[in-house]
Point group: C2
Chain length 151, copies 2
DNA sequence: ATTACATGTAATTATAATAGTTACAAGTTG
DNA sequence: CAACTTGTAACTATTATAATTACATGTAAT
């Protein structure tokens, strides 16, 4: 099991729009950076738009960030692209036997634990912003450039 | 996306073996409590066995816990049933465009963040034991019994 | 040793999610 | 109107899950 790459791609899209600021970020341009089909980008872009993270207009090339970079956390993106439902990171088997003491109580016993674990993961995502990722990438670029010049 | 119910079923199995202590917990008996096919139970049981959590012998009915209840955490079960690979809770799109500053750095930028989030979730699972779940279930049973008598 | 029953496991199927693709309607701009 | 873009529906290939059938292998009691 793995959480859909829609999440990683959503982050990629937002970061790219920022780094490409001043130029037009069309779905085709973004798709070439992500290395996928433009339709995949438009689909995810639609979700980011519904969540109020970007602005895009039909017929008009290019997407823009709808909020300040520091105001978009990875958790916001995660919710926007709908990769994991609330309280449903862990699948619980349905219809355990109610005639058994374990069967009739197991769900209520483990669901709160699963919920706590899911929330811990989501909290970690909430503490990182798109701005953090942009800064990290620009720093890596800078380091690479310095390396290329000195070696 | 959802983490396979193998995990929840694995927990169910271990709890049931404990609650049914003294009696024989065959795959058929466990399957009737989980409400699934005995083969599903045997497959998961095999994983629990490989992880050293239970003892089962071919041909001999019944499984037993191989460790003290308080020494088995939900994280141990999670690892045993192999529902999420290390560092792979989140899928990262492959082959982003190396000709783009974002494309060539995005993976290294987000993988550590994803890793932290996954570890936070796993840590939460590590802090709960099978014994905790067993106690919780027995308490729920007790409360239900009391309710049934007084109402 | 034979019978009865359990575990271990391969093979098959149905179902669902993902990611990619084609096709095209609808919007925008020059 | 022409060129280009976004928005979406529809279809496909791939993969994972869970359930099921079938059967080989192992154990124990008579």
């Amino acid at each position: 099991m793995s959480i859909s790459s829609r999440f990683a791609v959503g982050i990629h899209i937002l970061v790219l729009i920022e780094v490409n600021k001043g130029n037009v970020s069309s779905s085709e341009f973004i798709a070439s950076s992500v290395n996928t089909n433009p339709v995949v980008i438009r689909r995810i872009m639609g979700m980011l738009k519904n969540a109020g993270l970007v602005t895009v207009r039909p017929g008009v090339a290019g997407a823009e960030l709808a909020r300040d970079l520091t105001g978009i956390s990875l958790f916001d993106v995660y919710k926007a692209v709908d990769v994991v439902q609330e309280r449903e990171l862990f699948n619980v088997h349905e219809n355990p036997n109610p005639a058994c003491a374990v069967g009739r109580n197991i769900q209520e016993a483990i669901m709160p634990v699963f919920s706590v674990a899911q929330l811990a993961m989501e909290k970690a995502l909430g503490s990182v912003t798109i701005n953090d990722v942009v800064k990290d990438i620009l720093e890596k670029e800078k380091a690479d450039n310095a390396n290329r010049l000195t070696t």
